[in-house]
């Protein structure tokens, strides 16, 4: 990988980020996280209250890339075949033809994923984990760029099926958008005074450029010491107070890969401790299962990771 390739990849990132931030205001760090997950080949779970811009963010990303985008609204009666596709018997040629489901796309927005039944959820999650789907005994590969943005409302809301712990682990990152400042909100209102700016959004990068970005991330170097730091960090969550189930080695992998992407964005050819620290909470926290007692005493998974970051000696 030459420096020119890296520079090009960085430029791709910059353009996409700038494009999205035209629509999503005041969420620069969320955009960075989203793109880091995209570039690292992971998937993202956005958990937030309704109306904070989750869907808009996903749509803005899809529109910024000249790629195929599909949206799936999860409901309790959604079936796995509604996602993966189904073979239909054609009377004319007396044969079954496979009709691809919405999963065969580049960017998939799985809206309100926690409203579908666990059976349907797991159909999607298998596709996320393996980058392939098996329908009627036949294996079908998904496109090279396959990126899932799932959104969910916090589980306290009615009519939801919380994602099982094992499936939470499939998401490289989970983060929230949160409410923006009053000034930013006024700016949002002004932007939408006449029509939605999303309608006018033009693609900023071609699909090939995004795939090049993914390859560039793979070539970001990481030292043995920082790999060790990643492993120590993840291992520390397993021993932390109040944690029933700590983060898995998959978390270590995700943390390393997203940190590589973030290093690229930051203009480095190699990973520095900052990138690992900045990504630790979105990458690790959603994978932790807290003891009920700890949860009631006010300990949060986010707090556990933050505390671990503070306590563990960072390479300097």
């Amino acid at each position: 990988m030459t420096d020119a390739n890296l520079t090009a990849a960085r430029e791709t990132y910059r353009r996409i980020a700038a494009n999205i931030s035209k629509i999503i205001r005041g969420q620069d760090s969320a955009i960075r996280h989203l793109l880091a997950a995209l570039a690292a080949g992971g998937h993202v779970l956005l958990e937030d209250y309704p109306g904070t811009g989750k869907t808009t963010l996903a749509k803005a990303l899809a529109k910024s890339i000249d790629a195929q985008f599909k949206r799936l609204q999860f409901t309790p009666d959604l079936l796995p075949s509604d996602i993966l596709g189904v073979s239909i018997f054609n009377q004319r040629d007396q044969e079954f033809h496979f009709h691809q489901g919405p999963v065969f796309t580049n960017i998939l927005l799985a809206d309100e994923i926690n409203r579908a039944s666990p059976r349907t959820q797991s159909a999607l999650l298998e596709a996320m984990g393996e980058a392939q789907v098996s329908v009627e005994g036949e294996r079908r590969n998904l496109p090279e760029l396959f990126f899932v943005i799932a959104t969910e409302n916090p589980v306290e809301f009615r009519g939801t099926y919380p994602l099982p712990e094992a499936q939470m682990d499939r998401f490289a990152m989970q983060f929230t958008l949160g409410y923006v400042s009053a000034e930013e909100e006024v700016a949002i209102l002004t932007a939408q005074e006449h029509n939605h700016p999303l309608d006018k959004l033009k693609p900023a990068a071609a699909l090939a450029e995004v795939i090049a970005l993914k390859h560039a991330v793979e070539n970001i170097r990481i030292s043995a010491e920082l790999k060790r730091y990643v492993v120590d960090l993840v291992a520390a969550t397993r021993a932390a107070h109040g944690v029933q189930l700590g983060a898995s080695p998959r978390a270590s992998i995700a943390l390393m890969k997203t940190a590589q992407a973030m290093a690229l964005f930051d203009g480095f050819d190699f990973v520095t401790p900052e990138q690992i620290q900045k990504l630790a909470v979105p990458v690790i926290a959603h994978r932790l299962v807290l003891e009920p007692q700890a949860r009631f005493s006010g300990i949060t998974a986010r707090g556990v990771v933050e505390e671990t970051l503070k306590k563990l000696k960072v390479p300097a």
Partner: protein, 704 residues
């Protein structure tokens, strides 16, 4: 929190005044206050503070050791001599108080380091070695906490000033009240009126005064609480004025096998059977106590011969026998500030030779010799049968102490006398023989104190001993014999000391359990007091049965202690000796603290983890010098804080804004050096070195 100006000076001055280190206190105080006037500041980091803290701790331990070994009434002497519980407690208290009194001095390096440091606070980890240890183990909970220790040091000064001699004076109380008011004035809560604040302080002061009276009063009560009884059990010192017996008590009599006296006869086999320490005249039957019949004022000083090592006790007597005695003086004379105790002497002792030259010797009418001087006395005693230094029996018939018998013991004694079947014309020799035979044939020796002799309405313990139980230990036999002899018209006294029977090499040793009581009976023909022991001879065998199998071990310890005591008391300037011996130890420790932090003192486990840490590349980066410099300026990096985050925080300081871009450039180089697996090319490495140096120079110019 900073103290108001000159408060520390005043506190140190007060401490100096109260503990007689006035010049030291004034100097230290002035040195600390100097920090307010000079601009000079050190830039000490956490490691420096840890070293200073370690040094203070070593200094304190050394001081404690010095005070402990230097303690005349106990300390290490007490340990090797096997002191009693009370003596050990006393010496412990003495060591502690002397040690605490010097605390402002030994902690001075620490407070001075803070006062002259750029950041006026010390890291929490430097204050406690426990926290430092936890930090090394990877617990970073207390990292990055800094405290100003001016007020704690102020409190230490007040506390140390409280350890002084002038009890009963209110100087200390008024002193701390004034200082406390001064200190509290600067931090008083502003939301209350001045009057309320002053009233609250006054109330506390009044409570303080009551507290002082209360504590003094409680102390008096505790001290007077059955002091004699406590002394009996906690002290093996013989009191020349009174001896409380264990008669009438219940339980096993236990005395240790500790060696208390060593004898070396000049002629083999010529050794006295009894070594007497004191004798007593009056018996109090309710208290079961013998009294000497006089006070400490009865002791008169004996003058030594010209050489100061020879003492004539009785004149005109040929001294046939000569024995070398080594004994410990277990007591302490407050008046002379020296060890003090009774000398165990053979009967008829008339001359002491080769004593230590600085001994002070007193005697009372009952023949007790009270010596003061060194903790271990070694001397030659010349003795022969015949005249003793005891006063003869009173001449008159009224108030005749040596013939006095308590009225409630008379019925039992009369019954015994009738049992003796003495003829009216029996001579004193016959009477003594009859008494001796009576006890030998009809009584047994036992260390077990049964319920049957416990005092009740039916009679005193002595009555029960004489009439019913007919068994007991030496105090019963001696007390009964004295009273019986007196009832028979022979003047008698109660003697306390040791029985000599155990050989050791060419000499003899006397153990604490060889402690014995017997009678002194007046021989009218020879006009002298004679030892008269009615305890069955089997007592020695019974006592020796209790020998434990590890006794040889305690004997070795006792011998070591004896040798140490000989060395210690021969050395006149022993204290200086110890002080100088401590110096090299202190220096070696200091060397280790300063230069060998990661050296031999650490265990194998630490080495392993150190090796693991050292394999990472780029740890030689010059950036760390910058980090250290900035940390010393009060901008330490937290363990979980990355360099970039920390630098961002540090650069917020206005004095450093000019350094922003060079430092950030340097950090990028440093990061490449550290975290890029490809490493830094040689030219870039050179640049890192140069720029770090340039930044260091810039940093030195940018003083806060």
């Amino acid at each position: 929190m900073k103290t108001p100006p000159f408060l520390l000076f005043a506190a140190l001055l007060f401490w100096g005044w109260q503990t007689d280190f006035l010049i030291a206190g004034a100097t230290l105080g002035a040195a600390l206050e100097l920090a307010r006037f000079v601009k000079f500041r050190w830039e000490l980091d956490d490691t420096d503070f840890n070293r200073i803290s370690s040094f203070c701790i070593v200094l304190n331990i050394a001081l404690m050791g010095y005070v402990f070994t230097n303690n005349d009434t106990g300390g290490v002497n007490g340990l090797v001599h096997g002191h009693t519980v009370i003596a050990a407690a006393k010496s412990g208290a003495l060591t502690t108080t002397r040690f605490l009194r010097w605390l402002p001095l030994t902690a001075f390096a620490f407070i001075a380091a803070q006062m002259f440091n750029a950041r006026p606070s010390v890291p929490l980890t430097a204050i406690s070695p426990v926290l430092r240890w936890r930090r090394r183990k990877g617990d970073n909970e207390f990292a990055g906490h800094y405290y100003n220790i001016e007020f704690p040091y102020f409190m230490v000064c007040l506390f140390a000033a409280g350890i002084h001699e002038n009890t009963g004076s209110f100087k200390y109380f008024f002193g701390i009240t004034i200082l406390a008011v001064w200190a509290l004035w600067t931090v008083r809560p502003r939301r209350f009126k001045f009057l309320a604040w002053a009233a609250a302080l006054a109330a506390v002061a009044v409570l303080g005064i009551f507290g002082i009276f209360g504590i003094t009063h409680t102390q008096h009560i505790i001290q007077s609480f059955n002091a004699a009884w406590m002394a009996r059990f906690f002290g093996n010192r013989v009191d020349p004025l009174q001896t409380m017996t264990s008669m009438g008590r219940i339980g096993q009599m236990k005395l240790s096998a500790k060696i208390v006296i060593r004898l070396e006869p000049h002629e083999v086999g010529h050794v006295p059977s009894y070594l007497r320490e004191a004798s007593y005249r009056n018996y109090h039957p309710q208290k079961m106590t013998w009294y000497a019949g006089g006070g400490l004022s009865d002791f008169e000083i004996i003058q030594a011969e010209n050489d100061g090592t020879t003492w004539n006790l009785t004149t005109a007597k040929t001294n046939a026998e000569n024995i070398n005695i080594a004994c410990y003086l277990e007591g302490y004379s407050r008046e002379l500030d020296a060890p003090e105790g009774l000398l165990p002497l053979p009967s008829g002792c008339s001359r002491l030779e080769n004593t230590p030259p600085d001994m002070i010797l007193k005697k009372n009418k009952n023949g007790a010799l009270l010596a003061a001087g060194r903790g271990l006395m070694i001397f030659d005693a010349r003795y022969a049968a015949g005249a003793t230094i005891d006063s003869p029996p009173d001449a008159g018939t009224t108030n005749h102490f040596d013939l006095n018998v308590p009225t409630n013991e008379i019925p039992a004694l009369a019954q015994v006398i009738s049992e003796l079947n003495l003829s009216a014309a029996a001579s004193e020799t016959e009477k003594r023989a009859a008494v001796e035979k009576f006890f030998l044939n009809k009584f047994t020796y036992t260390m077990w104190q049964g319920r049957e002799k416990h005092a009740d309405t039916n009679g005193t313990p002595l009555t029960k001993f004489l009439l019913t139980s007919r068994n007991g230990h030496c105090e019963y036999f001696a007390s009964a014999s004295v009273l019986l002899l007196r009832e028979l018209g022979i003047p008698a006294r109660y003697a306390v000391g040791y029985y000599v029977h155990e050989t050791r090499g060419t000499g003899y040793v006397v153990r604490e359990r060889d402690g014995h009581a017997w009678c002194l009976a007046w021989n009218r023909d020879k006009k002298c007091w004679e030892d008269f022991d009615t305890t069955p001879p089997s007592w020695v065998a019974i006592e020796s049965q209790r020998t434990e199998f590890w006794q040889w071990l305690s004997d070795v310890r006792s011998w070591l202690g004896f040798e140490f005591a000989k060395f210690r008391w021969r050395q006149a300037n022993f204290q200086q000796y110890i002080l100088w011996a401590l110096v090299p130890v202190l220096l070696v420790l200091l060397y280790h603290i300063i230069f060998r932090r990661r050296g031999k003192l650490h265990g194998a486990k630490d080495k392993k983890s150190a090796a693991r840490e050292n394999i990472w590349p780029g740890l030689d980066s010059e950036f760390y010098q910058l980090e250290k410099k900035l940390a010393a300026r009060g901008l330490p990096r937290q363990p979980g804080e990355t360099l970039a985050d920390w630098l961002e925080r540090a650069l917020a300081e206005p004095a450093l804004t000019g350094l922003r871009s060079p430092l950030q450039e340097l950090l990028r180089l440093h990061y490449r050096h550290r975290f890029d697996p490809h490493g830094l090319p040689a030219a870039e490495r050179e640049r890192l070195r140069d720029e770090a140096k340039a930044c260091l120079d810039l940093l030195l110019q940018a003083r806060p």
